[in-house]
Symmetry: D2
Subunit: 119 residues, 4 copies
């Protein structure tokens, strides 16, 4: 059984402390943080852009660790953004999963990558 | 004290079940999922692009809920990407926080938005 | 009167020759190129993410040249993507301008950043 | 011989007039426009994310026209961004092509998708 790992709430708190110690709240407004999320996603994409789907699914250990740290960057700025907007990201994810279950009923969406509004 | 909320591990499992029920693993390879993360981040940005920093920090309740669900989309695809690459996102986030503490020592980075390699 | 500068068609040709000389057509399929565009846009964003709108509008000459080269990267991959899809980007831009004129009539959209479907 | 099509300079002028008529210069500062470029690129990616490389290279006419208009959106906001920063995008693209020729000498980069700093 996998360990639950650090919770989003604990990460959120650590990030808030990290920023406060560095006096970074002045930079961490939601508009800036949304851009920072996107900047990190750009770096994540760069790891995959020239790989075939097969190569992308079979990264070396070194490449996988680089990707892991890029994915972490995305999560950390996303959490920080949510914190600044008083959004509970874990709760939002649960709400979204429920919405997705309605938007993508198994019968209609099975085996199809079609967007819900075209199903 | 805030609730810890659903764990990343629980979300990961729910997403895997959601995709399996719909036979979506055929689409969910890492390359595609990295693109999906970026697509969702684009939608997140669109909520903020024409707002001043002040407006972005003071969203209406309706806009905030829209942003919450976009942020959730980013998280869900990010988790799914990590799952497909056998990356433990919670553990990666903890590693990245430790690395950031070294890259951005308080003394050098206090009050500055400068990237670590230019500090 | 400003010079017209190099045309998109000339750029497209130069890029095709550049890729052919390096045997890069094997990497330059539309899916990969769309990701490359997004990766470059991430780098573009990183120049602006921690700046206030005023700072972003008043870059130093050095920062402006960095931004110019990032913007060029976006354009070059975008042109390459269009070339691979047999899309005439200049003609598409003209079509889009005409569509935008219909979607955003002056009377309705004056002074408003509202998306056309909510006007 | 393909037509040169509308020049970037003509597009830039048309966009400036379009924004002026709608009193949109108040929204079109470089920070906002950089976000808008990224938002449009997100929409571009969504067309490709679930396609195999083969499917992405063989779009239907309808899908290709949708992609053409998304690519146009990216170009239009990119041009608008450059205009607001007094960047001549056509000239920057030429400078970048020259730089790329130095960063990626044919001998070293032939048949390899490796980034220049790892060649």
């Amino acid at each position: 059984m996998p360990k639950p790992g650090i919770s989003l709430e604990d990460l959120r708190e650590k990030l808030a402390a990290f920023a406060a110690e560095r006096d970074w709240d002045q930079f961490h407004n939601p508009k800036n943080l949304a851009m920072a999320v996107a900047g990190e996603v750009g770096e994540l994409l760069e790891h995959f852009q020239w790989l075939t789907p097969d190569q992308a699914a079979n990264l070396s250990a070194a490449a996988r660790e680089e990707v892991a740290l890029e994915a972490a960057d995305v999560l950390l700025f996303l959490l920080r953004l949510c914190d600044k907007l008083d959004i509970d990201l874990a709760a939002a994810a649960e709400r979204k999963l429920e919405l997705n279950a309605k938007k993508y009923p198994v019968g209609k969406s099975r085996g199809r990558a079609t967007k819900y509004d075209k199903l």
